[in-house]
């Protein structure tokens, strides 16, 4: 019992890295397409270890992101929960898909998440003036194969379960 429980820290460490990446300074022109790191990482762990990382974990991480970004508490929590929900409900298919197909499905999932994000931003009064809000979803979907390979490598090497 102690064996598997000991490895949970790896998951949380990757989430910490995701949080770091999501506030890391980027050049001005890349700001607009900042990948949804936390969503990507939550996606991986929810696919790989659905009984460890679920919607509640996503929600807690979302709250952390809210505090980090200074948005209304619950805004990013709602988005991440939604992502986790979609990924978990598509989980059995997603695991069968080849990588590019996973990326396509995730593009839709993240696009939806960004759309909800847009609505919430509009409610709080700062609506981005362009369609560029969809860009992070595209970038994240393109990044998915790399994230998958990297995290799977980590996962298998450290035998997290």
């Amino acid at each position: 019992m102690a064996g598997p429980a000991r490895k949970v820290w790896v998951i949380w460490l990757t989430f910490a890295v995701a949080l770091l990446l999501s506030v890391a300074p980027l050049p001005e022109f890349m700001q607009i397409g900042r990948p949804l790191w936390l969503a990507l990482f939550v996606t991986y762990w929810a696919l790989a270890l659905p009984d460890r990382v679920g919607m509640t974990t996503a929600w807690v991480l979302g709250l952390a992101e809210d505090v980090l970004y200074g948005t209304l508490l619950g805004q990013n929590a709602l988005i991440l929960t939604l992502v986790a929900f979609l990924v978990l409900s598509l989980q059995q298919r997603l695991r069968m898909f080849p990588m590019w197909q996973q990326s396509l499905v995730l593009l839709v999932v993240y696009g939806l998440a960004q759309l909800v994000q847009l609505w919430l931003h509009a409610l709080t009064g700062n609506r981005p003036p362009t369609l560029a809000f969809i860009l992070p979803a595209v970038v994240s979907a393109l990044l998915w194969p790399w994230v998958l390979v990297a995290l799977r490598g980590l996962h298998q090497r450290l035998r997290v379960n």
Partner: protein, 364 residues
């Protein structure tokens, strides 16, 4: 969605075909309803939190404590950039440093000259304020802060600075850099604070044209190089190159700090108002050091009362002094009084009645 949820546990025969062999964990709770309910509960919780957070202030302390935990993230994220800067400093060449030193010396000289002029002006200002019986406060206190983070959302213009509640920073406090107003503090955490910049789309600031006092509201445009003046009449006297300073109306920003220079004025007969665009004077996306201004937190009535009390006290002291120096009528003493306000001016000035006009001539 319900059809997706009704998929049962993976039959063991398909497990072999999965690529992530070590990662396999058959889902234990792939039952539809509990899944949906889970989402519903969390969504309701989030929405509830959002509404609560936007309507009430109760969550502020919780937030600021959580901010304390998460501040190191910004610090860490900024670490590579800072290390690079420091390494750069280490290796910048001797001649570069010499050149910079030269430049700074020249700049210091220029500044000193301006400061001399400023001393005279300050003194004159104090005198005029005394005449108007207004507040004794002339100079604001400032605190220097350093930028430690930028909001990752490209559509909001907010920055994180390294001064917080422990340094006395408060929500609504104005923030400047060396060349002008930058914005205001919108969230205070124990050791950090978030600053909303002038150019954020949700920010506006009351300004006036320095040349003629024309008042307007400068609204952020979402572009770090541009502000817009709303509802300026087509006939208003405003020109390209005009300096806009904060007007102090709205009682959030202190009056008289430079905000922007007018870049273009477009008169379009199809529009009810002139379109006026201005460039912020502060380097909003370049400044690393910011100044936090501590202005008077008293209400205008309180300030007037305090000023009246101070004046009364000064008058009384003056009367006492005049009765000490017997023979002189008290009416002559009215002008040179009010030493409490004059602490900042040069010590060499004993403020005899005749000193006032001299600097005012000298600074032309």
């Amino acid at each position: 969605m319900t059809s997706l949820l009704q998929i049962g546990p993976i039959p063991p025969s398909t497990l072999g075909s999965l690529r992530e062999v070590t990662a396999i964990k058959p889902m234990l709770f792939a039952k539809g309803p509990s899944f949906g309910i889970h989402l519903l509960v969390l969504a309701v919780l989030s929405v509830g939190l959002m509404v609560f957070d936007s309507r009430f202030d109760t969550l502020r302390p919780v937030r600021s404590q959580m901010g304390l935990v998460l501040t190191p993230f910004y610090w860490l994220a900024d670490l590579p950039a800072r290390t690079w800067d420091r390494a750069n400093e280490q290796f910048s060449s001797h001649s570069e440093l010499l050149a910079e030193n030269e430049k700074l010396k020249a700049e210091a000289l220029l500044m000193q000259r301006r400061l001399q002029k400023l001393a005279a002006l300050t003194e004159q200002n104090v005198r005029l304020r005394e005449l108007l019986n207004s507040s004794a406060l002339v100079d604001d206190d400032v605190l220097v802060g350093e930028l430690i983070g930028v909001d990752p959302n490209p559509f909001t213009h907010r920055i994180l600075i390294d001064k917080g509640g422990k340094d006395g920073v408060a929500v609504g406090q104005p923030v400047l850099d060396a060349t002008g107003l930058m914005g205001q503090v919108v969230e205070v955490m124990p050791y950090t604070a978030r600053v909303l910049l002038l150019t954020d789309t949700t920010h506006s600031i009351p300004v006036q044209v320095n040349r003629n006092g024309l008042r307007a509201i400068a609204v952020g445009s979402g572009n770090p190089e541009s502000l817009e003046l709303r509802h300026v009449a087509d006939t208003a006297d405003i020109r390209e190159g005009d300096l806009l300073v904060s007007s102090g109306l709205g009682q959030r920003f202190p009056a008289g700090y430079p905000v922007a220079t007018v870049k273009e004025v477009i008169h379009d007969s199809g529009q009810p108002f002139a379109i006026v665009r201005a460039v912020p004077t502060a380097a909003l996306n370049r400044s690393r050091y910011v100044l936090l201004v501590f202005t008077d937190t008293r209400s205008p009535e309180q300030r007037a009362n305090d000023a009246a009390l101070a004046q009364e006290k000064a008058d009384r002291e003056a009367a006492e002094r005049s009765s000490d120096a017997a023979g002189k009528p008290p009416s002559q003493e009215a002008t040179p009084v009010a030493p409490p306000a004059l602490e900042s001016r040069p010590a060499t000035d004993p403020a005899p009645g005749g000193a006032a006009p001299i600097p005012s001539d000298g600074d032309r």
